[in-house]
Protein backbone atom coordinates (compact mmCIF):
# COMPACT_ATOMS: atom_id res chain seq x y z
CA UNK A 1 0.00 0.00 0.00
CA UNK A 2 1.81 3.10 -1.25
CA UNK A 3 1.60 6.63 0.07
CA UNK A 4 -1.27 7.66 -2.21
CA UNK A 5 -3.30 4.56 -1.44
CA UNK A 6 -2.67 5.07 2.28
CA UNK A 7 -3.81 8.68 2.02
CA UNK A 8 -6.97 7.70 0.14
CA UNK A 9 -7.71 5.08 2.81
CA UNK A 10 -7.27 7.57 5.64
CA UNK A 11 -9.33 10.17 3.76
CA UNK A 12 -12.19 7.69 3.30
CA UNK A 13 -11.92 6.78 6.95
CA UNK A 14 -12.06 10.43 8.06
CA UNK A 15 -15.10 11.11 5.88
CA UNK A 16 -16.75 7.98 7.25
CA UNK A 17 -16.08 9.15 10.80
CA UNK A 18 -17.79 12.47 10.10
CA UNK A 19 -20.73 10.72 8.42
CA UNK A 20 -21.29 8.42 11.37
CA UNK A 21 -21.46 10.94 14.21
CA UNK A 22 -24.75 12.61 14.99
CA UNK A 23 -23.33 15.90 16.28
CA UNK A 24 -21.43 16.53 13.05
CA UNK A 25 -24.43 15.71 10.87
CA UNK A 26 -26.68 18.03 12.89
CA UNK A 27 -24.25 20.96 12.73
CA UNK A 28 -23.63 20.50 8.98
CA UNK A 29 -27.39 20.32 8.39
CA UNK A 30 -27.89 23.51 10.42
CA UNK A 31 -25.16 25.34 8.51
CA UNK A 32 -27.02 24.62 5.26
CA UNK A 33 -30.64 24.62 6.34
CA UNK A 34 -30.78 27.64 8.66
CA UNK A 35 -29.77 30.24 6.02
CA UNK A 36 -31.88 28.46 3.40
CA UNK A 37 -35.00 28.51 5.58
CA UNK A 38 -34.54 32.14 6.64
CA UNK A 39 -33.84 33.24 3.08
CA UNK A 40 -36.79 31.32 1.68
CA UNK A 41 -39.13 32.84 4.28
CA UNK A 42 -37.72 36.28 3.49
CA UNK A 43 -38.37 35.72 -0.21
CA UNK A 44 -41.92 34.64 0.54
CA UNK A 45 -42.94 37.47 2.84
CA UNK A 46 -40.56 40.45 2.46
CA UNK A 47 -40.07 42.99 -0.35
CA UNK A 48 -43.68 44.15 -0.33
CA UNK A 49 -42.61 47.31 -2.21
CA UNK A 50 -42.09 45.11 -5.29
CA UNK A 51 -38.32 45.17 -5.63
CA UNK A 52 -35.24 43.75 -3.96
CA UNK A 53 -32.81 46.52 -3.10
CA UNK A 54 -29.66 44.46 -3.22
CA UNK A 55 -28.60 41.52 -5.37
CA UNK A 56 -29.63 38.10 -4.05
CA UNK A 57 -26.02 36.94 -3.84
CA UNK A 58 -25.11 39.94 -1.76
CA UNK A 59 -28.00 39.18 0.59
CA UNK A 60 -27.08 35.51 0.86
CA UNK A 61 -23.57 36.63 1.67
CA UNK A 62 -24.87 38.02 4.94
CA UNK A 63 -25.45 34.45 6.08
CA UNK A 64 -21.87 33.44 5.38
CA UNK A 65 -20.58 34.18 8.91
CA UNK A 66 -23.35 31.98 10.37
CA UNK A 67 -22.62 29.12 7.97
CA UNK A 68 -18.88 29.63 8.36
CA UNK A 69 -18.95 29.55 12.14
CA UNK A 70 -21.16 26.44 12.16
CA UNK A 71 -18.74 24.75 9.76
CA UNK A 72 -15.98 25.91 12.09
CA UNK A 73 -17.73 23.90 14.81
CA UNK A 74 -17.65 20.91 12.44
CA UNK A 75 -13.89 21.45 12.11
CA UNK A 76 -13.59 21.53 15.90
CA UNK A 77 -15.59 18.30 16.23
CA UNK A 78 -13.44 16.64 13.56
CA UNK A 79 -10.48 16.85 15.94
CA UNK A 80 -11.82 17.10 19.49
CA UNK A 81 -14.26 14.19 19.24
CA UNK A 82 -11.25 11.96 18.66
CA UNK A 83 -9.72 13.06 21.96
CA UNK A 84 -12.93 13.08 23.99
CA UNK A 85 -13.94 9.60 22.79
CA UNK A 86 -10.42 8.16 22.91
CA UNK A 87 -10.46 7.19 19.23
CA UNK A 88 -7.35 9.28 18.57
CA UNK A 89 -5.29 6.36 19.89
CA UNK A 90 -6.87 3.97 17.38
CA UNK A 91 -6.50 6.54 14.60
CA UNK A 92 -2.78 6.90 15.27
CA UNK A 93 -2.26 3.18 15.77
CA UNK A 94 -3.89 2.57 12.38
CA UNK A 95 -1.95 5.43 10.76
CA UNK A 96 1.27 6.08 12.68
CA UNK A 97 2.30 8.81 10.21
CA UNK A 98 0.73 11.82 11.89
CA UNK A 99 1.29 14.03 8.86
CA UNK A 100 -0.97 11.73 6.82
CA UNK A 101 -3.68 11.93 9.48
CA UNK A 102 -3.33 15.70 9.67
CA UNK A 103 -3.58 16.17 5.90
CA UNK A 104 -6.55 13.79 5.73
CA UNK A 105 -8.37 15.73 8.45
CA UNK A 106 -7.58 19.02 6.71
CA UNK A 107 -8.80 17.78 3.33
CA UNK A 108 -11.92 16.28 4.87
CA UNK A 109 -12.74 19.56 6.58
CA UNK A 110 -12.13 21.51 3.36
CA UNK A 111 -14.29 19.14 1.29
CA UNK A 112 -17.16 19.15 3.80
CA UNK A 113 -17.13 22.93 4.21
CA UNK A 114 -16.87 23.56 0.44
CA UNK A 115 -19.75 21.23 -0.37
CA UNK A 116 -21.84 22.58 2.51
CA UNK A 117 -21.34 26.24 1.60
CA UNK A 118 -22.07 25.58 -2.09
CA UNK A 119 -25.21 23.69 -1.09
CA UNK A 120 -26.19 26.54 1.19
CA UNK A 121 -25.80 29.00 -1.69
CA UNK A 122 -27.84 26.81 -4.02
CA UNK A 123 -30.60 26.23 -1.48
CA UNK A 124 -30.79 29.95 -0.78
CA UNK A 125 -30.62 31.23 -4.33
CA UNK A 126 -32.66 28.74 -6.38
CA UNK A 127 -35.88 28.67 -4.29
CA UNK A 128 -35.76 32.42 -3.64
CA UNK A 129 -35.49 33.18 -7.37
CA UNK A 130 -38.50 30.99 -8.08
CA UNK A 131 -40.49 32.54 -5.24
CA UNK A 132 -39.59 36.13 -6.13
CA UNK A 133 -40.39 35.48 -9.81
CA UNK A 134 -43.76 34.06 -8.90
CA UNK A 135 -44.39 37.17 -6.77
CA UNK A 136 -43.45 39.43 -9.73
CA UNK A 137 -40.75 41.16 -7.69
CA UNK A 138 -37.81 42.77 -9.46
CA UNK A 139 -34.47 41.34 -8.43
CA UNK A 140 -30.92 40.84 -9.61
CA UNK A 141 -29.34 37.46 -8.88
CA UNK A 142 -25.67 38.32 -9.05
CA UNK A 143 -25.29 41.88 -10.31
CA UNK A 144 -21.65 42.83 -9.78
CA UNK A 145 -21.16 40.52 -6.79
CA UNK A 146 -19.62 37.37 -8.33
CA UNK A 147 -16.76 37.86 -5.87
CA UNK A 148 -19.18 37.31 -2.99
CA UNK A 149 -20.10 33.85 -4.26
CA UNK A 150 -16.48 32.75 -3.98
CA UNK A 151 -16.00 34.64 -0.74
CA UNK A 152 -18.83 32.71 0.95
CA UNK A 153 -17.05 29.46 0.13
CA UNK A 154 -13.62 30.82 1.08
CA UNK A 155 -14.89 32.14 4.42
CA UNK A 156 -16.58 28.82 5.23
CA UNK A 157 -13.50 26.80 4.33
CA UNK A 158 -11.17 29.05 6.33
CA UNK A 159 -13.39 29.09 9.40
CA UNK A 160 -13.69 25.29 9.32
CA UNK A 161 -9.89 25.01 9.07
CA UNK A 162 -9.62 27.48 11.96
CA UNK A 163 -12.02 25.26 13.95
CA UNK A 164 -9.98 22.15 13.15
CA UNK A 165 -6.78 23.91 14.21
CA UNK A 166 -8.29 25.20 17.47
CA UNK A 167 -9.53 21.68 18.17
CA UNK A 168 -6.01 20.31 17.73
CA UNK A 169 -4.62 22.97 20.06
CA UNK A 170 -7.28 22.71 22.79
CA UNK A 171 -8.16 18.98 22.44
CA UNK A 172 -11.52 19.71 24.08
CA UNK A 173 -14.73 20.79 22.36
CA UNK A 174 -15.84 23.39 24.96
CA UNK A 175 -12.50 25.22 24.86
CA UNK A 176 -12.14 25.17 21.10
CA UNK A 177 -15.76 26.08 20.34
CA UNK A 178 -15.66 28.90 22.90
CA UNK A 179 -12.53 30.31 21.28
CA UNK A 180 -13.99 29.92 17.79
CA UNK A 181 -17.27 31.66 18.62
CA UNK A 182 -16.26 34.19 21.27
CA UNK A 183 -13.22 35.64 19.52
CA UNK A 184 -14.92 36.91 16.35
CA UNK A 185 -18.29 37.74 17.89
CA UNK A 186 -17.28 39.45 21.15
CA UNK A 187 -13.61 39.53 22.09
CA UNK A 188 -12.23 40.78 18.79
CA UNK A 189 -14.65 43.70 18.74
CA UNK A 190 -13.72 44.62 22.31
CA UNK A 191 -9.97 44.35 21.77
CA UNK A 192 -9.85 46.27 18.50
CA UNK A 193 -12.49 48.73 19.74
CA UNK A 194 -10.26 49.57 22.70
CA UNK A 195 -7.25 49.84 20.42
CA UNK A 196 -9.21 52.24 18.18
CA UNK A 197 -9.94 54.43 21.22
CA UNK A 198 -6.36 54.21 22.46
CA UNK A 199 -4.80 55.16 19.11
CA UNK A 200 -7.65 57.42 18.00
CA UNK A 201 -7.93 55.72 14.61
CA UNK A 202 -9.93 52.87 13.10
CA UNK A 203 -8.12 49.74 14.18
CA UNK A 204 -10.97 47.40 13.24
CA UNK A 205 -9.47 46.93 9.80
CA UNK A 206 -6.68 45.00 11.53
CA UNK A 207 -9.14 42.67 13.26
CA UNK A 208 -8.47 39.36 11.52
CA UNK A 209 -11.99 37.93 11.49
CA UNK A 210 -14.43 40.83 11.79
CA UNK A 211 -12.26 43.38 10.01
CA UNK A 212 -11.00 41.07 7.28
CA UNK A 213 -12.57 37.60 7.22
CA UNK A 214 -16.14 38.83 7.38
CA UNK A 215 -15.27 41.76 5.11
CA UNK A 216 -14.66 39.33 2.24
CA UNK A 217 -18.40 39.04 1.74
CA UNK A 218 -19.15 42.76 2.20
CA UNK A 219 -19.10 45.61 -0.25
CA UNK A 220 -15.99 47.73 -0.27
CA UNK A 221 -15.86 50.69 2.04
CA UNK A 222 -13.26 53.43 1.97
CA UNK A 223 -12.02 52.87 5.50
CA UNK A 224 -11.62 49.09 5.18
CA UNK A 225 -8.98 46.95 3.51
CA UNK A 226 -9.36 45.83 -0.09
CA UNK A 227 -10.64 42.31 -0.76
CA UNK A 228 -7.16 41.03 -1.51
CA UNK A 229 -5.61 42.57 1.60
CA UNK A 230 -8.48 41.21 3.72
CA UNK A 231 -7.98 37.76 2.21
CA UNK A 232 -4.24 37.93 2.94
CA UNK A 233 -4.71 39.03 6.57
CA UNK A 234 -7.40 36.41 7.20
CA UNK A 235 -5.33 33.69 5.53
CA UNK A 236 -2.33 34.59 7.67
CA UNK A 237 -4.48 34.49 10.84
CA UNK A 238 -5.87 31.03 10.00
CA UNK A 239 -2.44 29.81 8.92
CA UNK A 240 -0.92 30.72 12.29
CA UNK A 241 -3.46 28.53 14.10
CA UNK A 242 -3.13 25.79 11.47
CA UNK A 243 0.62 25.64 12.07
CA UNK A 244 0.12 25.71 15.84
CA UNK A 245 -2.43 22.89 15.59
CA UNK A 246 -0.11 20.85 13.37
CA UNK A 247 2.82 21.31 15.75
CA UNK A 248 0.75 20.33 18.80
CA UNK A 249 -0.73 17.33 16.98
CA UNK A 250 2.56 15.99 15.70
CA UNK A 251 4.56 16.47 18.90
CA UNK A 252 2.07 15.64 21.63
CA UNK A 253 1.82 12.16 23.14
CA UNK A 254 -1.51 10.55 22.35
Amino acid sequence: MGGTAAMIGVLRSELFKLRTTRATKVVVACSIALPAIIFTLTSMYAFSNGEVGDSLVSMVGNFAPLTGLLLGVVGVLCSTQEYSQGTIRITLVATPNRFTVLVAKLLTTVVVSTVSSVLMLLLCLVPSQLILSSRNIDFATIDTDVRILFSVVILSVFLSVLGLSLGLVFKSSPGAISALLLWPTILEGMVFGLLSVAFDRNMMKFAPVQGNGFRLIAHYANESNSWLVSLTVFTAFVAVFAVLGAVFFSRRDA
Binding site: V93, A94, N97
Partner: protein, 310 residues
Protein backbone atom coordinates in the same frame (compact mmCIF):
# COMPACT_ATOMS: atom_id res chain seq x y z
CA UNK B 1 8.93 -11.26 17.71
CA UNK B 2 8.87 -8.08 19.78
CA UNK B 3 12.13 -6.66 21.08
CA UNK B 4 12.03 -3.81 23.58
CA UNK B 5 15.45 -2.33 24.13
CA UNK B 6 16.52 0.19 26.74
CA UNK B 7 13.14 1.97 26.68
CA UNK B 8 12.94 5.09 28.85
CA UNK B 9 10.04 7.51 29.08
CA UNK B 10 9.71 10.42 31.49
CA UNK B 11 6.83 12.76 32.23
CA UNK B 12 8.45 15.86 33.68
CA UNK B 13 10.79 14.71 36.42
CA UNK B 14 9.03 11.34 36.88
CA UNK B 15 10.44 8.36 35.04
CA UNK B 16 7.48 6.22 33.98
CA UNK B 17 9.67 3.66 32.22
CA UNK B 18 13.35 3.27 33.04
CA UNK B 19 15.77 1.46 30.71
CA UNK B 20 13.33 -1.38 30.11
CA UNK B 21 14.40 -4.29 27.93
CA UNK B 22 12.61 -7.54 27.21
CA UNK B 23 11.42 -9.65 24.29
CA UNK B 24 8.21 -11.43 23.36
CA UNK B 25 8.61 -14.64 21.36
CA UNK B 26 6.24 -15.82 18.64
CA UNK B 27 3.91 -18.69 19.47
CA UNK B 28 3.87 -17.78 23.15
CA UNK B 29 1.60 -15.81 25.45
CA UNK B 30 3.66 -13.35 27.46
CA UNK B 31 2.08 -11.87 30.56
CA UNK B 32 3.04 -8.28 31.32
CA UNK B 33 2.74 -7.67 35.04
CA UNK B 34 3.33 -4.79 37.38
CA UNK B 35 1.57 -2.89 40.13
CA UNK B 36 -0.59 0.14 39.29
CA UNK B 37 1.55 2.98 37.95
CA UNK B 38 4.46 0.68 37.18
CA UNK B 39 4.61 1.78 33.54
CA UNK B 40 2.87 -1.07 31.71
CA UNK B 41 0.46 1.12 29.73
CA UNK B 42 3.17 3.70 29.01
CA UNK B 43 5.37 0.91 27.66
CA UNK B 44 2.56 -0.34 25.44
CA UNK B 45 1.87 3.19 24.16
CA UNK B 46 5.56 3.65 23.37
CA UNK B 47 5.55 0.30 21.55
CA UNK B 48 2.76 1.56 19.29
CA UNK B 49 4.25 4.98 18.62
CA UNK B 50 1.58 6.82 20.59
CA UNK B 51 4.10 8.14 23.12
CA UNK B 52 7.61 9.06 22.14
CA UNK B 53 10.26 7.38 24.32
CA UNK B 54 13.16 9.49 25.56
CA UNK B 55 15.59 6.72 24.67
CA UNK B 56 15.44 3.15 23.42
CA UNK B 57 13.33 1.51 20.78
CA UNK B 58 10.82 -1.24 20.12
CA UNK B 59 11.11 -3.51 17.09
CA UNK B 60 8.52 -5.86 15.63
CA UNK B 61 10.34 -8.44 13.52
CA UNK B 62 13.16 -5.93 13.18
CA UNK B 63 11.05 -2.89 12.26
CA UNK B 64 9.74 0.01 14.32
CA UNK B 65 5.94 0.26 14.46
CA UNK B 66 5.93 3.59 12.63
CA UNK B 67 7.77 2.02 9.68
CA UNK B 68 4.93 -0.32 8.75
CA UNK B 69 2.83 0.73 5.76
CA UNK B 70 -0.12 -1.36 6.96
CA UNK B 71 0.54 -1.62 10.71
CA UNK B 72 -2.76 -3.30 11.59
CA UNK B 73 -1.71 -6.35 9.57
CA UNK B 74 1.44 -6.61 11.70
CA UNK B 75 0.32 -5.57 15.17
CA UNK B 76 -3.18 -5.66 16.62
CA UNK B 77 -3.76 -3.86 19.88
CA UNK B 78 -6.39 -3.28 22.52
CA UNK B 79 -5.29 -0.51 24.86
CA UNK B 80 -8.59 0.70 26.32
CA UNK B 81 -12.04 -0.72 25.72
CA UNK B 82 -13.44 2.80 26.08
CA UNK B 83 -11.67 3.97 22.91
CA UNK B 84 -14.78 4.04 20.72
CA UNK B 85 -17.26 6.77 19.84
CA UNK B 86 -20.38 6.13 21.93
CA UNK B 87 -22.64 7.27 19.11
CA UNK B 88 -21.30 4.87 16.48
CA UNK B 89 -22.49 1.34 16.00
CA UNK B 90 -20.06 -1.52 16.59
CA UNK B 91 -19.95 -2.23 12.87
CA UNK B 92 -19.27 1.40 11.96
CA UNK B 93 -16.56 1.59 14.61
CA UNK B 94 -14.75 -1.27 12.90
CA UNK B 95 -15.51 0.05 9.42
CA UNK B 96 -13.68 3.34 9.89
CA UNK B 97 -10.65 1.44 11.15
CA UNK B 98 -10.92 -1.01 8.25
CA UNK B 99 -11.09 1.82 5.70
CA UNK B 100 -7.61 3.05 6.67
CA UNK B 101 -6.19 -0.27 5.44
CA UNK B 102 -8.61 -1.09 2.66
CA UNK B 103 -9.93 -4.00 4.72
CA UNK B 104 -13.23 -5.35 3.41
CA UNK B 105 -16.63 -5.09 5.08
CA UNK B 106 -16.73 -8.91 5.00
CA UNK B 107 -13.70 -9.01 7.29
CA UNK B 108 -15.46 -6.55 9.63
CA UNK B 109 -18.44 -8.89 9.83
CA UNK B 110 -16.09 -11.85 10.26
CA UNK B 111 -14.31 -10.40 13.31
CA UNK B 112 -17.64 -9.36 14.79
CA UNK B 113 -18.70 -12.98 14.47
CA UNK B 114 -15.40 -14.16 15.97
CA UNK B 115 -16.02 -12.13 19.13
CA UNK B 116 -19.69 -13.10 19.28
CA UNK B 117 -21.08 -9.66 18.47
CA UNK B 118 -22.91 -10.26 15.20
CA UNK B 119 -26.28 -9.55 16.77
CA UNK B 120 -25.00 -6.35 18.39
CA UNK B 121 -23.29 -5.14 15.20
CA UNK B 122 -25.78 -2.34 14.62
CA UNK B 123 -26.09 -1.29 18.26
CA UNK B 124 -24.46 1.94 19.39
CA UNK B 125 -21.31 1.50 21.47
CA UNK B 126 -22.80 3.74 24.18
CA UNK B 127 -25.29 0.99 25.00
CA UNK B 128 -22.60 -1.66 25.49
CA UNK B 129 -21.46 -3.05 28.83
CA UNK B 130 -17.74 -2.94 29.59
CA UNK B 131 -17.52 -6.59 28.65
CA UNK B 132 -19.04 -5.96 25.22
CA UNK B 133 -16.66 -3.06 24.67
CA UNK B 134 -13.78 -5.37 25.50
CA UNK B 135 -15.02 -7.79 22.85
CA UNK B 136 -15.33 -4.95 20.34
CA UNK B 137 -11.80 -3.80 21.19
CA UNK B 138 -10.55 -7.33 20.62
CA UNK B 139 -12.38 -7.42 17.28
CA UNK B 140 -10.58 -4.20 16.30
CA UNK B 141 -7.25 -5.74 17.32
CA UNK B 142 -7.88 -8.80 15.14
CA UNK B 143 -9.20 -6.83 12.16
CA UNK B 144 -5.92 -6.89 10.22
CA UNK B 145 -5.15 -10.54 11.09
CA UNK B 146 -1.92 -9.38 12.79
CA UNK B 147 1.22 -11.34 13.61
CA UNK B 148 1.55 -9.66 17.00
CA UNK B 149 -1.27 -8.98 19.44
CA UNK B 150 -0.91 -6.51 22.33
CA UNK B 151 -3.71 -6.48 24.89
CA UNK B 152 -3.98 -4.20 27.92
CA UNK B 153 -6.27 -5.72 30.56
CA UNK B 154 -8.47 -7.58 28.03
CA UNK B 155 -10.46 -9.40 30.70
CA UNK B 156 -11.50 -6.24 32.55
CA UNK B 157 -15.25 -6.21 33.09
CA UNK B 158 -15.82 -9.64 31.59
CA UNK B 159 -17.96 -12.28 33.28
CA UNK B 160 -16.40 -15.68 34.06
CA UNK B 161 -17.46 -17.08 30.69
CA UNK B 162 -15.96 -14.03 28.97
CA UNK B 163 -12.73 -14.39 30.92
CA UNK B 164 -12.45 -18.05 29.94
CA UNK B 165 -13.21 -17.11 26.33
CA UNK B 166 -10.49 -14.43 26.34
CA UNK B 167 -8.04 -16.98 27.70
CA UNK B 168 -8.93 -19.41 24.92
CA UNK B 169 -8.59 -16.66 22.30
CA UNK B 170 -5.09 -15.75 23.54
CA UNK B 171 -4.04 -19.41 23.59
CA UNK B 172 -5.45 -19.92 20.10
CA UNK B 173 -3.64 -16.83 18.75
CA UNK B 174 -0.35 -18.00 20.22
CA UNK B 175 -0.86 -21.53 18.91
CA UNK B 176 -1.22 -20.02 15.44
CA UNK B 177 2.32 -18.69 15.84
CA UNK B 178 1.52 -15.11 16.84
CA UNK B 179 3.29 -13.20 19.60
CA UNK B 180 0.79 -12.30 22.31
CA UNK B 181 1.65 -9.71 24.95
CA UNK B 182 -1.05 -9.27 27.56
CA UNK B 183 -1.12 -7.15 30.67
CA UNK B 184 -3.53 -8.20 33.37
CA UNK B 185 -4.16 -7.97 37.06
CA UNK B 186 -6.08 -11.23 37.01
CA UNK B 187 -3.11 -13.33 37.99
CA UNK B 188 -4.99 -16.58 38.36
CA UNK B 189 -6.21 -16.26 34.79
CA UNK B 190 -2.78 -15.26 33.58
CA UNK B 191 -1.16 -18.23 35.31
CA UNK B 192 -3.48 -20.48 33.30
CA UNK B 193 -2.52 -19.07 29.90
CA UNK B 194 0.87 -17.32 30.03
CA UNK B 195 4.00 -19.12 28.90
CA UNK B 196 6.35 -16.26 29.79
CA UNK B 197 6.21 -13.33 32.17
CA UNK B 198 7.62 -9.83 32.08
CA UNK B 199 7.32 -8.23 35.51
CA UNK B 200 8.08 -4.56 36.04
CA UNK B 201 7.98 -2.24 39.02
CA UNK B 202 8.36 1.55 38.98
CA UNK B 203 9.24 1.37 35.30
CA UNK B 204 12.13 -1.07 35.71
CA UNK B 205 12.38 -4.74 34.86
CA UNK B 206 12.04 -7.10 37.81
CA UNK B 207 11.87 -10.40 35.99
CA UNK B 208 11.61 -11.70 32.44
CA UNK B 209 11.42 -15.29 31.26
CA UNK B 210 9.33 -18.46 31.45
CA UNK B 211 6.63 -18.45 34.12
CA UNK B 212 8.26 -21.52 35.76
CA UNK B 213 11.50 -19.57 36.18
CA UNK B 214 9.64 -16.69 37.83
CA UNK B 215 7.89 -19.09 40.19
CA UNK B 216 11.17 -20.78 41.11
CA UNK B 217 12.75 -17.41 41.85
CA UNK B 218 9.91 -15.73 43.68
CA UNK B 219 7.27 -18.20 44.84
CA UNK B 220 7.36 -19.55 48.40
CA UNK B 221 7.86 -23.32 48.78
CA UNK B 222 7.11 -25.49 51.78
CA UNK B 223 6.30 -29.08 52.70
CA UNK B 224 2.92 -30.17 54.02
CA UNK B 225 2.95 -33.11 56.43
CA UNK B 226 0.08 -35.06 57.94
CA UNK B 227 1.12 -37.62 60.59
CA UNK B 228 -0.26 -39.11 63.82
CA UNK B 229 3.16 -38.31 65.39
CA UNK B 230 3.22 -34.72 64.15
CA UNK B 231 4.32 -33.11 67.43
CA UNK B 232 7.35 -35.36 67.83
CA UNK B 233 8.24 -34.99 64.14
CA UNK B 234 7.87 -31.20 64.37
CA UNK B 235 10.31 -31.09 67.25
CA UNK B 236 12.93 -33.02 65.29
CA UNK B 237 12.40 -30.90 62.17
CA UNK B 238 12.82 -27.76 64.25
CA UNK B 239 16.14 -29.12 65.54
CA UNK B 240 17.16 -29.75 61.90
CA UNK B 241 16.62 -26.07 61.09
CA UNK B 242 13.05 -26.05 59.75
CA UNK B 243 10.24 -23.79 60.87
CA UNK B 244 6.70 -24.95 61.52
CA UNK B 245 3.29 -23.50 60.74
CA UNK B 246 0.13 -25.28 61.85
CA UNK B 247 -2.77 -25.16 59.39
CA UNK B 248 -6.22 -26.73 59.17
CA UNK B 249 -4.94 -29.31 56.68
CA UNK B 250 -1.88 -30.35 58.71
CA UNK B 251 1.50 -28.83 59.46
CA UNK B 252 3.56 -26.87 56.96
CA UNK B 253 7.33 -27.07 57.26
CA UNK B 254 9.40 -24.24 55.87
CA UNK B 255 13.14 -24.11 55.25
CA UNK B 256 13.60 -27.84 54.85
CA UNK B 257 13.12 -30.20 51.93
CA UNK B 258 10.54 -33.01 51.69
CA UNK B 259 13.40 -35.50 51.37
CA UNK B 260 14.98 -34.36 54.63
CA UNK B 261 11.65 -34.61 56.47
CA UNK B 262 11.08 -38.07 54.99
CA UNK B 263 14.47 -39.26 56.23
CA UNK B 264 13.82 -37.91 59.74
CA UNK B 265 10.44 -39.66 59.77
CA UNK B 266 11.94 -42.93 58.52
CA UNK B 267 14.76 -42.92 61.08
CA UNK B 268 12.29 -42.45 63.91
CA UNK B 269 9.59 -44.83 62.56
CA UNK B 270 6.96 -42.08 62.26
CA UNK B 271 3.94 -42.91 60.13
CA UNK B 272 3.25 -40.27 57.46
CA UNK B 273 -0.19 -39.81 55.87
CA UNK B 274 0.98 -36.96 53.65
CA UNK B 275 4.36 -35.55 52.68
CA UNK B 276 3.89 -33.10 49.82
CA UNK B 277 6.03 -30.23 48.51
CA UNK B 278 3.90 -27.07 48.02
CA UNK B 279 4.46 -23.97 45.90
CA UNK B 280 2.80 -20.58 46.38
CA UNK B 281 0.46 -18.98 43.88
CA UNK B 282 1.50 -16.63 41.07
CA UNK B 283 -0.33 -13.91 42.97
CA UNK B 284 1.81 -14.40 46.06
CA UNK B 285 4.98 -14.61 43.99
CA UNK B 286 4.01 -11.43 42.14
CA UNK B 287 3.25 -9.58 45.39
CA UNK B 288 6.55 -10.67 46.89
CA UNK B 289 8.51 -9.76 43.75
CA UNK B 290 6.97 -6.31 43.41
CA UNK B 291 6.61 -5.47 47.09
CA UNK B 292 9.45 -2.96 47.06
CA UNK B 293 8.10 -1.17 44.00
CA UNK B 294 4.45 -0.72 44.93
CA UNK B 295 3.69 2.97 44.52
CA UNK B 296 0.12 3.13 45.82
CA UNK B 297 -0.65 0.96 48.83
CA UNK B 298 -3.89 0.78 50.79
CA UNK B 299 -4.07 0.21 54.51
CA UNK B 300 -4.76 -3.32 55.66
CA UNK B 301 -8.53 -3.62 55.79
CA UNK B 302 -8.51 -6.02 58.72
CA UNK B 303 -6.07 -4.18 60.93
CA UNK B 304 -6.78 -0.50 60.52
CA UNK B 305 -10.23 -0.06 59.04
CA UNK B 306 -12.78 0.91 61.63
CA UNK B 307 -16.51 1.34 61.32
CA UNK B 308 -17.55 5.00 61.21
CA UNK B 309 -18.43 6.29 64.64
CA UNK B 310 -22.09 7.13 65.13
Amino acid sequence: MIVVENLTKSYGSKKAVDSLSFSVAPGRVTGFLGPNGSGKSTTMRCMLGLDRPDTGHVLFDGKAYTEFERPLTQVGSLLDAGDAHKGRTARNHLRWIALTHGISVQRVDQVLQMVGMTEAANTRVGKFSLGMRQRLGLAAALLGDPKVVILDEPANGLDPEGIRWTREVMRHLADEGRSVLVSSHQLVELSLVADDLVVIGQGSLISSGPISQFMTQHAKTWVRVVSPSIDALAELVRLAGGTIEKTLEGVDFHGISAAAIGEIAAKNNFVLHELSPQIGSLEQAFLDATDASVEYRGESATSTWAAPQQ
